[in-house]
Symmetry: D2
Amino acid sequence: MIGTGMIGRDHIRRVTDVVTGAQVVAVTDIDVERAKEIASTIDARVLPTGHDVINDPLVDAVVVTSWGPTHAEYVLAAIAAGKPVFCEKPLATAAEDGLRIVEAEQAFGRRLVQVGFMRRYDAGYRAMKRVIDSGEIGAPLLMHCVHRNQSVPQTYHSDMAVQDTAVHEIDIIRWLLDDDIVSTQVITPRRTANRFGHLQDPQVMLFETSGGVRIDLEVFVNCQYGYDIQCETVGETGTVRLPDPADVWLRSAGQLRTGVLQDWQQRFAAAFDREFTEWVASIADGRLCGPSAWDGYATALISDATTEARHTGRVVTLARPDRPAFYAT
Amino acid sequence: MIGTGMIGRDHIRRVTDVVTGAQVVAVTDIDVERAKEIASTIDARVLPTGHDVINDPLVDAVVVTSWGPTHAEYVLAAIAAGKPVFCEKPLATAAEDGLRIVEAEQAFGRRLVQVGFMRRYDAGYRAMKRVIDSGEIGAPLLMHCVHRNQSVPQTYHSDMAVQDTAVHEIDIIRWLLDDDIVSTQVITPRRTANRFGHLQDPQVMLFETSGGVRIDLEVFVNCQYGYDIQCETVGETGTVRLPDPADVWLRSAGQLRTGVLQDWQQRFAAAFDREFTEWVASIADGRLCGPSAWDGYATALISDATTEARHTGRVVTLARPDRPAFYAT
Amino acid sequence: MIGTGMIGRDHIRRVTDVVTGAQVVAVTDIDVERAKEIASTIDARVLPTGHDVINDPLVDAVVVTSWGPTHAEYVLAAIAAGKPVFCEKPLATAAEDGLRIVEAEQAFGRRLVQVGFMRRYDAGYRAMKRVIDSGEIGAPLLMHCVHRNQSVPQTYHSDMAVQDTAVHEIDIIRWLLDDDIVSTQVITPRRTANRFGHLQDPQVMLFETSGGVRIDLEVFVNCQYGYDIQCETVGETGTVRLPDPADVWLRSAGQLRTGVLQDWQQRFAAAFDREFTEWVASIADGRLCGPSAWDGYATALISDATTEARHTGRVVTLARPDRPAFYAT
Amino acid sequence: MIGTGMIGRDHIRRVTDVVTGAQVVAVTDIDVERAKEIASTIDARVLPTGHDVINDPLVDAVVVTSWGPTHAEYVLAAIAAGKPVFCEKPLATAAEDGLRIVEAEQAFGRRLVQVGFMRRYDAGYRAMKRVIDSGEIGAPLLMHCVHRNQSVPQTYHSDMAVQDTAVHEIDIIRWLLDDDIVSTQVITPRRTANRFGHLQDPQVMLFETSGGVRIDLEVFVNCQYGYDIQCETVGETGTVRLPDPADVWLRSAGQLRTGVLQDWQQRFAAAFDREFTEWVASIADGRLCGPSAWDGYATALISDATTEARHTGRVVTLARPDRPAFYAT
């Protein structure tokens, strides 16, 4: 485990308590005390650097949850060591680093990299993909997506609405439609009063795929009422929509009501568990099949274009990247 | 219009403002001032008694909304006068009076009487009946029914849970299943604290039809949160359930919620309108087809048996009344 | 009644059978036989032209449901005659005609014109407006709207997606937000295969109000599965969404399901009835309060700009029209 | 693992693949070949009898999933060996055996027994219990419960509707209300045609708790359409209801629909996983807290009374069993 911040500690707990067939044997963090504290609870060693973790002979696979700008370096080192590596998004903060990873992995000759796009493991999105792939709603034409957070801290700035938030939507759109995004635009409504002054919130992002599907995505990270992910795909003969998470229904005081989740940990807890369970199983099988380095790279290209679209106020088009056969699904 | 109490005035407004093809020309009430007040707003005459209304040559059809114990007398008089009569429930407070009405109407030779079971005009119950009749859920085996009021006044006593409240459920069960109830039982849970001391609230009534369908009915008239009518019919291959009334959905403060109606006027407003619209049209056609005197009589027999069942704590069985061919559906 | 086509006949039936306090006394149509046929069923006279209807001394108020290009002429004539006039949309097929109507009505000095935007009478939209106006979801920031038809005939062409279909959405957006649209853009996804060749279907329209609210509207008129109107307004602290129309719920064959309506007559039947009921009552009161000539004119300006936006592929901005005090809400 | 039938194999998979901190080291089954087959896949030993498993020094805790009549013997043996034992329901097929277990465990002085009432680990029931305990709906007065299976095999007979099926409902009712059932009655509707001839299906069971709460429970094991568990608790000020399991919503062919689960494995998969995860954790903690031997015994008393109620057609009352302080919650 490289990185023991919030998401890192959550993954350590997951590997230790939830996933069978795996064990955390070594951790590192730039904050050594933090690393020691968590390591002591799980009987793991603390190593000085990420490279020490990667090259430790007891380590069969690497999880990278350190600071984003360090991801590419560790992923490349893991490839060099021939070890499977799970990297939280972003795979790389610069697209060219993503490309280097893609090239390194192909040169190695076998998939080693998985990127932490956990939504692909959510039961709702999986059911939606089955419906789309079955042809039950005909060919997709449109998607309506909503990503809402209850609130974000002051450190969250306008570019993060794409880089940190919409990136999950971009991946899931690509995966659901089995297509790439080739045009992007950002619309900026009146800002909510419930935000820090520097932040454009909400934002509406408009995407177009190479096949002509149009997607609108609302990103609203201070919606106050809860954490809410919505997605509807409109096909030629029908539509399919994510359900709201199931909770008990109350009737009281003139209302029929149910709870809305408050954070992504609740919303995607089962997806994270399944993501790691399947990742560990796929390593044992020798057949990685989750979100690939290519997905990380392609998503970064679209994120960068979307950031440019917001800064310029223009529609930004992308050449559809030419996916190597190595990454064929 | 015989009777200008709350429901009477509501029907006067309905005939005047909602229904086309009818006009209130004469009203009466034991409270003459009340009758005068309402009559003055609609340009109708006030007559001394219900019999004067019935026999007035300008009156083509009679609506009886007076005090329950007077209903049978006026309905019989209307039959004697050969005029269509709409009678709010109960048709008669004693079953033998109901039988006299049924016999008088048959002697007259043509249907004149309609009883105010407005639920048959509700869009949800009608859709449920279509589903049942279509065979889409197979033969019915069970029904689960719920009748909840926000609260009732002190004058409401335990027998009224059957005579005033469950009577609507009994009619709709008979109509939906096209069958009669032949056994009845009342179960008395712990009483809610939110009631006047004399009242058994809630009550659970258990019915069995001649065809072996079993029905459980919750009557809870001080449920606090609203007016709520639920009904599910369980058949051999599926179930059909009333929808909750449609209202906008809000997401705020950690909840997803919609409104619950607060009274029967809101819940059945459209049903009442349709009831009168169809009744007036059926008079013009000369073919009454709504809930009949027979339905009023049969329902009274079941209500009486259910009252006895609560008083004795026993299962009470009824012989299935032998419906005259005159009342064949 | 000027015009006895499908919508005209439906309004004739409505005035005759549903609305109290009004009666159809004269009709006209360019197809005289059609006019005679309907007139004979309701005991109304057939007059040669719309102007004869307007000027008939027995006619207190005029309903215009003739061919769109003739609307402005009849509305202006009704104003000249000082008679209330209900005009189906469009108020005018050219914006300058709309302006002439607005000016003529102001010159007359009292409101005479109502435009047939029936959605304002739908219970769901009314509940949504109450929620927005109450401040319960904070200031609106975004709206997500969907308009889907099961299918359209070959005569339906791409401009009609705005002029005939989206015009209702444009009106309801203006009304819900009490604001005007000042920018418009049209996005064209891949076309469904289930359409006649000339038609761009679906279309996504993007609007911005003078207050900075952004709206996305999907218009998809060959969606195959039904007639489906959706609307969600996103505010600073919560959201409000139209309910799906209530229908019974079935559980059978591995599914939980309810019906989707198939046409606008079903979806807005109650709204049409309420529209006419309130219009007739407002004439009796002498205080017209429904959608005004100004609404018809402003909506036409936005429709025209949206048509231009689709033709040019560009964002089209409008100056916010300066609403005369005469039309203050 | 004592017993390698369907549920036994499922628990072996669960301990092996899902739960961390536990490992299957020894299995037994009367069908030795079946035991060998499963043991070979998980590197466990096959022992001749359940007693060999219980007394094996490598075995820290025992899971009993053998044939029901053998449960009590193995549970008593585990207590004698001082080892935690998880026993699938029933704890004992005769109530007096349940009592012997309860006495033996008390004599041992510490809880060792947990019974497999997995519903207590279902997220929906847990949320319902939180709502009830919070006082949010006031004191409970009524419960409406439904248990439906798609179909059952010919070996399923009428008593199993209580002993195998309703037993889970009985436990969850006791747990939700923190009360015991003191009266029971069975109502037998017309039988569905979709069953083997010997079976009474559906059945309606009526329970009363010592606190006066009344419960109706539909058990319908050949409902054809799916596996469906419903539960609504009605309190003095409101109600709480289980949600339907979340699945994507489709709009197509005139319907809005979602899937209904087909079997209990899908419905309670997460509950089973949590049950074992918490059980294993509680052994490590030395503090068993799941459904106890007392719960198994009390539930058996109610099941037996309910069976008698169906056979006799009468209401059967039970003395409320006097729960030892040892089993205080």
